[in-house]
């Protein structure tokens, strides 16, 4: 993917994040994810039915990269089984850490395939993943 395409995808997801909400949500599992060294701070809401991810939403404030990464993660993960969700998260984190990964179902998440080169952006890109994995592990 070239840089301009990446930029467009990031920009769209940042300015128009998917399933971002302003109010608390009942009936969902909830986890907070934040980056200690900065102000990124989001709540992720997850709905699981029959071991399948039915819905994900998020609330909160974060930088452009964290916001875009959350939006893309949500688009990709809705509809996955919990088990596939865990695999997807691990593959994404492997990509950010420059380890071998399987990019099946990555779609827009491939905009982050070179984020490993930018030390300060790695924590931004993984923000939502570090939160949701806890919920998935607890509910598999």
């Amino acid at each position: 993917m070239d840089d301009n395409t990446k930029r467009e995808i990031l920009f769209d997801n940042y300015t128009n994040p998917y399933n971002k909400i302003d109010e608390e949500l009942d009936g969902y599992l909830k986890v907070n994810s934040n980056n200690e060294s900065c102000i990124d701070n989001i709540d992720i809401y997850l709905l699981i039915e029959d071991k399948t991810i039915k819905d994900i939403k998020f609330k909160g404030e974060a930088c452009a990269i964290s916001t875009a990464s959350t939006s893309i993660m949500i688009k990709n993960m809705i509809g996955m089984s919990v088990e596939d969700g865990i695999k997807y998260v691990n593959n994404f984190i492997n990509m950010i850490n420059e380890e071998p990964y399987d990019d099946t179902n990555f779609d827009e998440a491939l905009v982050f395939d070179e984020t490993y080169k930018q030390a300060s952006r790695k924590t931004c890109a993984t923000l939502p993943y570090r939160g949701i994995i806890k919920l998935l592990e607890d509910n598999k």
Partner: protein, 397 residues
């Protein structure tokens, strides 16, 4: 000024001097000289290199004392501002304060001042009162008078804060305080490196600052206290170096200050490095440093004040700290964008998590200046900030 002492400036624009400053060659050499040529402990040996270490350690203390207008025995080496503030609050104030006693601070203070006081609220039941900040987020004497009561025991504020950057009228404040038997503890982390600070003229009771913010090494800082108050400060750490003799729990005799408050092997290299840093900034002249920073700040503010999407948090201040936000862009993203051009600025809430109650903004971009910054560097920064579309585009990847 003095840019050739900092080789790192050849390809870096460093605007994060409130967080820490760069180190001039003479300071690095001084530390290296200690480790290479006389890496000995102090207070101990009968051999030459130990005398040399002792001598340099004492000279560092003397340089700092004369820099602040203090006596040698009023200067205690600590690990930094945070350490100094914790020692003062827990070693002195904790022993004299009682339930219901009031301590005056502001919401613009650094965590290292606020949290030790919060802890005494929990432990002793003291009460914290906040001076209301004015429209420019400054401390005024009128607003201070509004919160002083018969129960006020301490006023504890920074001379310059790390986000707003106003210079508080400390001399007037200590006068008002002392007339009422109130003690004054000043956080000098952002003032001592940037302006002339004379503790006797200001008449402060305690003052803290960090070496690394004044061209010195990390891990070393200073606690200043008036002699009679330091003598009442209970050492928070006991051990070697600071005791004169002991044979049972009933019989422990401690040495005099400042050694009494420096238990164990101190940060010798740090202290010697800090002494060199103080001599270095002093040779430039604190008034020259202050004047240079103010000129640069005015230059910068004049250039950005008409950019409509930039909001200044503190255009009225009188130090080299400028905090601002850019409409619709997260501060961190601006930091990332500037980093691409080797420009270092601070983004975030700068260790002050209750200031948002007061100014309604919980994060910003902060440019903090020092003597080695130049107008050309500011031109480069302003160029990069004056095209919002470019920021939006380049901040992403």
């Amino acid at each position: 000024m003095n840019r050739s002492d900092f080789t790192i400036l050849d390809n870096l624009i460093y605007f994060d001097n409130s967080a820490t400053t760069l180190k001039p060659k003479c300071v690095v050499d001084k530390i290296s000289d200690y480790y290479t040529n006389y890496p000995s402990n102090i207070h101990r040996g009968e051999y030459n290199i130990s005398f040399k270490a002792d001598d340099e350690y004492n000279k560092a203390r003397e340089s700092i004392a004369s820099f602040l207008g203090a006596r040698n025995d009023e200067i205690v080496f600590t690990s930094g501002t945070t350490d100094s503030l914790n020692i003062i609050i827990n070693g002195y104030f904790k022993n004299i304060l009682n339930k219901g006693d009031e301590v005056i601070i502001t919401k613009a203070e650094h965590a290292s001042l606020i949290l030790p006081w919060f802890n005494l609220v929990n432990e002793l039941g003291i009460v914290i009162k906040y001076i209301k900040l004015d429209d420019n987020n400054h401390v005024t004497i009128d607003n201070l008078m509004d919160v002083i009561t018969d129960n006020t025991k301490v006023i504890s504020i920074a001379q310059i804060t790390n986000v707003i950057g106003d210079i508080r009228p400390i001399k007037e404040i200590t006068k008002i305080a002392h007339e009422r038997g109130i003690k004054v503890l000043v956080d000098g982390a952002q003032s001592v490196p940037h302006m002339k600070v004379d503790v006797k003229d200001l008449d402060v009771d305690f003052l803290a600052f960090s070496g690394h913010k004044i061209c010195g090494p990390t891990g070393i800082g200073v606690l200043y206290g008036k002699k009679e108050l330091l003598d009442e400060l209970k050492p928070q750490r006991l051990g070697g170096g600071m005791n004169a003799s002991f044979d049972s729990p009933e019989c422990i005799i401690l040495k005099d200050n400042p050694i009494r408050l420096e238990a164990g092997t101190p940060n010798i290299a740090g202290a010697i490095g800090l002494g060199e840093a103080i001599r270095y900034v002093n040779s430039i002249g604190m008034d020259n440093i202050y004047k240079h920073e103010c000129e640069l700040k005015d230059y910068f503010i004049n250039k950005i004040k008409d950019i409509d999407y930039i909001k200044l948090l503190n255009n009225e201040n009188d130090s080299g700290i400028i905090s601002f936000t850019i409409d619709g862009i997260f501060p961190q993203d601006v930091g990332y964008y500037l980093n691409k051009y080797n420009i270092c600025v601070r983004t975030g809430n700068h260790c002050d998590k209750i200031l948002k109650d007061e100014i309604g903004i919980d994060q910003s971009i902060r440019v903090s200046l020092y003597f080695y910054n130049t107008k050309e560097e500011i031109d480069t920064l302003v160029d990069l900030l004056s095209d919002k579309e470019r920021i939006m585009k380049e901040m992403l990847i």
